[in-house]
């Protein structure tokens, strides 16, 4: 199925849950509300035409510093955001970040149809939680733990939501844009 048809089949089935959609560089993307996520995901997996049986990737993006340059970066010298200087023909412009501070991003793939679909779920900072997909894909278990660890987004219904890459007792969520890159949290001894 081509990207447009993929989007069409999801939006026609869930007109309320899908808030927007776009195709950028031939990647089909559907933006779904947190409430509609579980129903849409189940449909993607079980619909025989979509047959998106792989949950290839699950991650998140913190859009709070989008377009603000990298003033907080380790090697930032100016901190001034510079507009792109060159214009490569932009046939399918990207509509921009989905609006809320966080976006949980799902990449699905169909092993039989060989097509891919990206699901973006905007998550507000005040209520950083989405439904867990662990009942549908066991792959979501560790991936959701990683998103919790790195971004502090909760997954409701997850069997064992705990840190995975960082240690217990680590404070904060390192991939949030307001976590300073040079911050140290020594685990053993002050000189660590």
């Amino acid at each position: 199925m081509n990207p447009q048809d993929l989007i069409e089949s999801v939006t026609s089935r869930f007109p309320d849950a899908v808030s927007s959609s776009h195709v950028f560089r031939a990647d089909a993307t559907v933006v779904v509300t947190p409430e509609g996520l579980l129903a849409v995901a189940r449909f993607l997996k079980e619909d025989p035409e979509l047959a998106l049986n792989f949950l290839m990737d699950l991650s998140a993006v913190d859009y709070s510093a989008f377009g603000q340059g990298h003033a907080r970066g380790l090697f930032a010298s100016s901190g001034v955001a510079v507009a792109p200087s060159f214009l490569i023909p932009d046939l399918d412009p990207w509509p921009g970040p989905p609006g809320e501070r966080f976006a949980v991003v799902y990449h699905f793939f169909s092993g039989t149809q060989r097509h891919r679909l990206r699901l973006v779920v905007p998550v507000p900072e005040t209520r950083a939680a989405v439904e867990s997909l662990t009942p549908l894909w066991p792959a979501a278990n560790w991936l959701e733990r990683e998103v919790w660890d790195m971004f502090g987004i909760r997954f409701e219904g997850h069997p064992d939501l705990k840190r995975i890459l960082m240690y217990d007792g680590f404070e904060g969520h390192p991939l949030r844009k307001d976590y300073p890159v040079a911050k140290r949290q020594p685990l053993i001894g002050p000189q660590n």
Binding site: F66, I88, L91, V105, P138, A139, N141, L165
Partner: protein, 463 residues
């Protein structure tokens, strides 16, 4: 000599008197394996609940090699991420380089020349062989076949010499650039490849003879670590691990990228999904990778090396730099110096053949940087903070076939010089998340071949 009295044998009655009086306490044992354990390639911890020798429950704990790849990628420019990608799967770094570069190129909307695609394909297939050699060799060693390990590491050495000839480094190669590669293949590479492959094939035949019909090896691999194709898909497992279960998904075949659609190769598939099938799949994939390299070398369009030799004499770039340093620019002020496009010349004078024809993306050749003002400016703009490669705002996901399965990069750009977000989908993360299920119900000794066939690479697992 006096006669020894026969040793007293414990009769059932005697044993009975000892045990029947006291009730033996039965309980499970909790065994902690790792994080630093010889069989835990890298560092990972498995807590196993044992009933006798049987694993009743296992819990896998990762994160010991977390170095913040994704956070660090946000701090540097697009080309600056390259050295970090080397350190993901450090046994096949060229595949990571290629995957990251192709995702950024997709984001920008450029495509590299066909010759560059061929160079990338050749090197990533060589990397795939080194990865599989390491995996099979280490597994065999842990099952007692130390000879095979030594043979396979020897073969890996020949291949790493090839990699070194092209990139100048063995492991941390940083060879690709957004929009191209650092250097063309050196002269006589096809011949070197032929020699290295002859040695590798010899090793594969020897190893095959030592393992495939070896009673000890077969008994421990057959029927252990079984996973069905449906379960594997549920866990997002890809690569040789999934193919061992009978699902023929290979990114190179099913979502072809670079020039894989022009190359004829087979995807080996297992039937039982056990350790033996995964071993056989990996052995066959090495042969197929060599086949791909051979086809690619033959099909490669002529590039820099075959161009007209009359355009100028070839001088090593290092020599030219030194001249300029001492103020003797007479040798290079007369025009654009022509150096070989290979690593040795580092010249890339015939750039269009291996790099995208897009000045605002690809770093200029060193001859231009030191030889004329346009080159110097171009280099300066690209390297200076905030002026480098600046893709338009957007997000892309691009998968390549890594040695362990689908290696995907999800890159988000906000239009500035640094990537806004770089997410790496590490293929062995999915396999490790299913490991507790593979181990459950098996005996303790089966853990070694099962964990070996996962081919866990700490660098890409923990990032």
């Amino acid at each position: 000599m006096e006669e020894h009295a026969p040793l007293q044998e414990a009769t059932p009655e005697k044993v009975g008197t000892h045990t029947s009086s006291a009730q033996l306490e039965m309980r499970d044992m909790l065994l902690n394996i790792g994080p630093a354990h010889p069989a835990m390639h890298g560092i990972v911890r498995i807590v196993a609940q044992l009933d006798g020798e049987q694993i009743e429950k296992a819990e896998v704990e990762i994160g010991y090699l977390h170095r913040g790849f994704e956070k660090m990628s946000e701090q540097v420019d697009y080309n600056g991420v390259m050295p970090y990608t080397d350190r993901l799967n450090y046994v096949s770094p060229l595949i990571n380089n290629m995957g990251y570069c192709m995702s950024v190129e997709k984001l920008i909307g450029i495509s590299v020349p066909v010759r560059c695609h061929y160079v990338r394909v050749i090197l990533s297939e060589i990397s795939r062989i080194t990865d599989h050699l390491t995996c099979v060799g280490a597994t065999a060693m842990e099952l007692g076949a130390f000879t095979v390990f030594l043979y396979m590491i020897k073969a890996r050495e020949y291949l790493w010499e090839l990699v070194e000839k092209v990139t100048g480094a063995r492991l941390t190669v940083s060879f690709c650039r957004v929009g191209g590669v650092k250097a063309d293949l050196p002269e006589g590479f096809a011949g070197l490849c032929k020699e290295a492959f002859a040695e590798t094939r010899k090793v594969l035949v020897e190893s095959d003879g030592l393992l495939t019909r070896n009673r000890i090896f077969v008994d421990r691999m057959n029927g252990t670590g079984v996973i069905s194709a449906a379960d594997a898909i549920g866990y997002g497992i890809t690569g040789p691990f999934l193919r061992g279960s009978g699902e023929a998904y290979d990114v190179r075949k099913d979502c072809p990228y670079a020039v894989y659609d022009r190359i004829d190769f087979d995807v080996p598939v297992g039937t039982r999904g056990d350790n033996m099938d995964r071993y056989l799949v990996r052995m066959e994939e090495m042969e197929q990778s060599m086949r791909i390299v051979e086809i690619a070398l033959a099909d490669m369009p002529p590039g820099a090396l075959q161009l007209d030799p009359d355009t100028g004499r070839e001088i090593p770039a290092a020599e030219m730099v030194d001249l300029a340093k001492v103020g003797d620019i007479g040798a290079i002020s007369g025009g654009c110096a022509v150096a070989g496009p290979t690593l040795e010349g580092s010249g890339r004078a015939q750039r269009p053949s291996i790099a995208a024809d897009e000045k605002r993306v690809f770093l200029p050749p060193k001859e231009d940087v030191y030889g004329n003002i346009e080159g110097l400016m171009s280099q300066f703009k690209l390297v200076m903070h905030g002026h480098g490669v600046r893709p338009p705002a957007g997000e892309v996901y691009f998968p390549v076939e890594g040695a362990n399965g689908e290696l995907g990069f999800y890159v988000v750009s906000d239009g500035t010089g640094n990537p806004y977000r770089v997410r790496c989908r590490p293929p062995c993360f999915a396999i490790m998340s299913a490991l507790h299920e593979l181990l459950q119900g098996e005996s303790m000794a089966d853990m070694t071949p099962t964990f070996g066939s996962v081919n866990m690479i700490g660098g890409e697992l923990d990032r």
